[in-house]
Symmetry: C2
Subunit: 231 residues, 2 copies
Amino acid sequence: MENLPAHFDSVFTVDCIIFGFDEGELKILLIERNEEPFKGWFALPGYFVEHTEAIENAAKRILYESTGLKDIHMEQFYTFGALGRHPHGRVITVAYYALIRLTGQKEVKPITNFAKQAVWMNVKDIPQLAFDHSRIFRKGFEKIRNKISYQPIAFELLPEKFTLTQLQNLYEVILNKKLDKRNFRKKMLSYDILKELDEKQKGVSYRAAKLYKFDKRKYAKNFQKELSFGK
Amino acid sequence: MENLPAHFDSVFTVDCIIFGFDEGELKILLIERNEEPFKGWFALPGYFVEHTEAIENAAKRILYESTGLKDIHMEQFYTFGALGRHPHGRVITVAYYALIRLTGQKEVKPITNFAKQAVWMNVKDIPQLAFDHSRIFRKGFEKIRNKISYQPIAFELLPEKFTLTQLQNLYEVILNKKLDKRNFRKKMLSYDILKELDEKQKGVSYRAAKLYKFDKRKYAKNFQKELSFGK
DNA sequence: ACAAAAGTGTTTGCCGTACACCCATGA
DNA sequence: TCATGGGTGTACGGCAAACACTTTTGT
């Protein structure tokens, strides 16, 4: 959306909502724009789709340029093409989301030159965003909130080894409600998609919890069915 | 997708899956193409998005041009932008579906000049379609199949007044499975979104069934919740 | 010994499912 | 009177929901 000719016809872009889970908070990656329009505003990472590039690849490229991460599953969720959504002309944007694991390197170095900085921001504190990105964010957040209830996407946000409490916290943050500990554990374990490890949490000043892994193999076997998290 | 310059850059189109329910069969509207590429093939109704036109409006325009129908709710469900999906160059298409009421006028007169004819075709008999339209159709069909389980979209396909058996047939066709009559009625009535009319079916050679209407008002009141149809 | 979170079962009510016969109507 | 679909109730099982105390560990 930078270096635009003064006048242009239709242009495609991809915008990405990149979710991460860190210190009990669900966050998304935002760019602080360093150019007009919306200079100084926060925006979703996004960029043009090249003429020789499949949309899906553009989304992956943008994720890579924003975070340095590769091989992350991205999901397209909506295409925004209202007139006037970009002040310079007709821009249609295909929106994707990704769920990533923020273990260790929380450092994000945007390669995108038009951004002053990239920051992880708690989904509860998102300010007004550039363009129609607030709307895009709301729609994407709604999608994952909906999806987490019947698909095991939560694991993509957690470190490989996690405790049941961490998993529950993540569900609570995404669904924005408290869950009952006993019911949550009972149900989650009943799905039989977790592998209990012979290992415990370390470095906590209270009773250490067991660690679990998501077991892809079990999941594939057991599930044509769905998960479900009501209360 | 006609009258293209030999070479062109990115182009947007909209493609529509227009569902109708008629004589107990779920059908979609297809165009028989009269021009290359894919001359003689069936395709989803679709066309270019004008530079000065919101995508949503393009979808509505195409529906109007294909069926003469206005004010139909259309829902965007996916954007297809693989390289090579159109043999002449880069074409990205935003796909919509619509559910329409085929009461009375089943006649469809396509205004689109590039089509030889438009036909309603049973979703069970769809042949190989032009471009990647088979894939688009499958994805769209999956969406409504999924959606009908928790949203009252079935009513958009039925005449204003309908019997419970007609409604059940429609669910059965979309979900592609038999439902139990007593359970279906019990559950449907329990949602309290139907208005029972003082009127019966006419012209049948057996006991006439009561007619019902979908009651939007009740629906809006009662539903933050969801519908649900398993078996 | 205290603080903090881990871990664990039972009861209740509702909802989904299975299942079969009589009724009303027109031909 | 027959054929065709319309219309109806009950019993069972399983799952979601509510709910509180003991255990472990580090400080």
